[in-house]
Chain length 342, copies 2
């Protein structure tokens, strides 16, 4: 059998899976940000017609998946697998959105890296020959995350400038073995990296070393340099985490400034939207990918993107027990060029 593992942490696909459809649903604040025009569905309010924030998050997932399926011209019954997860305890938003889908389901927990994790595994399952269509999905909701991870909204708690704003949004991607669309050529799977950050209001710093580690592994395994990509984008490091990654590469003699962005910095306008260090949450990278990035790729804005979902694998209980915050980052190489890459 052909060796698909390039060595290290990277896989190259023999039959690069195709992104046949993608969809997103976002909240009000995201719909007032700089990427507003790229989103498929912007909620009238953040309840999405439900009577709890958690159920609102489930409703967003259903919406995003329905849009992605419609764009792919597929029915739910044509999906071989659905891979999804979210930030809520027991991945509650996902369990209740998948309940109504009648599709074999693998539940994931990758914190805010879930969009990249679900794409990675989905692409491996398709390229491996285990089906023809797979959905990858995730979500986060500011209000459900705040009360679970921090304080009830009614507290009106203040946050330090390093804190980030959990995005309200869900993104879904439909992958196919065949068809027309951007293709996933490589995935680089992250290791858990923990450099000892204990401040849960500074996730960017906690996750940045994981992003640096995975990016380095990707470059080493593939022989590519940052310049190969039109855009390298991390999931939700925010302004501080992005600066740390840029700095770590600079110390290594590599200039990332020309091609590197972060979804947490793209999603909101730092001048007018008061999100401190930027956006975060599973939904952040998911809606930037399924709204802005994949749409841009299909309009030839970028040919080669490296999408790097970042996640902080901490828990409030762990932080109370004085534990530091482990980070992870999974990188997914997406291209619109035919024939993939050597």
């Amino acid at each position: 059998m052909e060796q698909k593992k390039l060595g290290g942490q990277t896989v190259r696909f023999a039959s690069p899976p195709v992104i046949l459809g993608f969809g997103c649903a976002v909240g009000q604040k995201e719909g007032q940000g700089p990427l507003a025009k790229h989103f498929d569905h912007i909620g009238q309010d953040d309840t999405f017609g439900e009577n709890s924030w958690e159920k609102a998050e489930t409703a967003m997932q259903k919406k995003a998946l329905a849009i992605a399926l419609e764009k792919a011209g597929l029915e739910t019954s044509q999906l071989d697998y659905l891979l999804a997860g979210d930030l809520l305890n027991q991945c509650m938003a996902t369990a209740y959105s998948v309940r109504s889908q009648d599709v074999p389901f693998f539940g994931l927990y990758g914190a805010c890296s879930t969009m990249a994790e679900s794409l990675s595994l989905g692409a491996m399952l398709l390229d491996g020959g285990y089906g023809t269509h797979i959905a990858a999905m995730t979500s986060s909701h500011f209000c459900s995350a705040e009360r679970q991870y921090r304080n009830p909204l009614e507290y009106g708690g203040q946050k330090p400038p390093t804190a980030q704003w959990t995005a309200t949004g869900s993104g879904a991607v439909i992958l196919g073995r065949e068809g027309y669309g951007p293709r996933i050529t490589h995935v680089t799977t992250g290791k858990v990296i923990d450099k000892g950050i204990t401040d849960a209001n500074n996730m960017g710093a906690a996750m940045a070393p994981a992003a640096y580690h995975t990016l380095q592994a990707h470059f080493q395994d593939t022989g590519r340099t940052p310049g190969y990509y039109d855009l390298i984008v991390t999931g939700d490091l925010g302004s501080l985490g992005k600066e740390i990654v840029t700095d770590l590469f600079r110390r290594n003699g590599i200039d990332m400034t020309k091609v590197y962005e972060d979804c947490g910095c793209l999603l909101f306008d730092p001048k007018t939207q008061d999100v401190h260090a930027g956006g975060s949450g599973c939904g952040c990278s998911a809606v930037v990918l399924t709204g802005y990035l994949l749409r841009g790729m299909t309009h030839n804005k970028w040919k080669n993107i490296l999408f790097c979902g970042t996640g902080a694998l901490h828990s409030p209980t762990a932080v109370m027990q004085k534990e530091s915050i482990p980070g992870i980052c999974h990188a997914v190489a997406i291209t619109t060029q035919k024939g993939g890459t050597p």
Copy 2:
């Protein structure tokens, strides 16, 4: 490419992955039960030398993984991927056990089905050609689960007879593309099934319909009957859930009584250990598999086993919001017969 998907929910492996090693660590109560002599490591107390129940769970995972690797004759550095998850919020036990492993990591959330989920995905990744060695792992701890899902231990809360006892234990399996050992030939991936049970003290009833659904799919997809297997074992339905599954099959004209067991019924002695309807938790099926079942297979006690991890994808928040409890079940066919199956 060869069609590996049998149709429906089942995959048949072209190169059935081999179980090269397996290990488990359990708590005191599990070490006093009927399977005691099969476990690799029984904790002196349930702290495993740590100062919190969550950290104790992490310690158990590390122990189980180390034992499994040792039996497989492998170093951590030879693992291509580690797939794992647990019941704690943000899969905390797993994040902190994997942190020290330096292995590419996919985090899973399948509630108590995680052992079967991690084996399913691990086998697919290996058969798909993405590496040579993969670890699948999970855990649960009675004390960390009680305080998260129910009440602090100090409450001494009473439970109804339908309630189950979360197992304290962790199991790890090392899968390889080549080598000697039992092989995974098929996986049947479950859909989320919810028949409207809202009582979080009756998980057996909530999960039984999912187990029935996945088993039916497995028989239909493979053309096998229950009699093909020497043992069909569900993860943690307990005595009540097991009875429901048996009854659902009986109504369908199928007698399951000769081959069907449940890990939750095997792990504890109902007469002397006061566990109400039986064992539960990710650790329940994980330690029964990695202690009793795989050891039995290597000693020719059984040739063909269908291991069906069952999970309740509810959350305490969902239950408070009057939601019912969605269930899931993933089936993994394991054989010691050479050449696999047609």
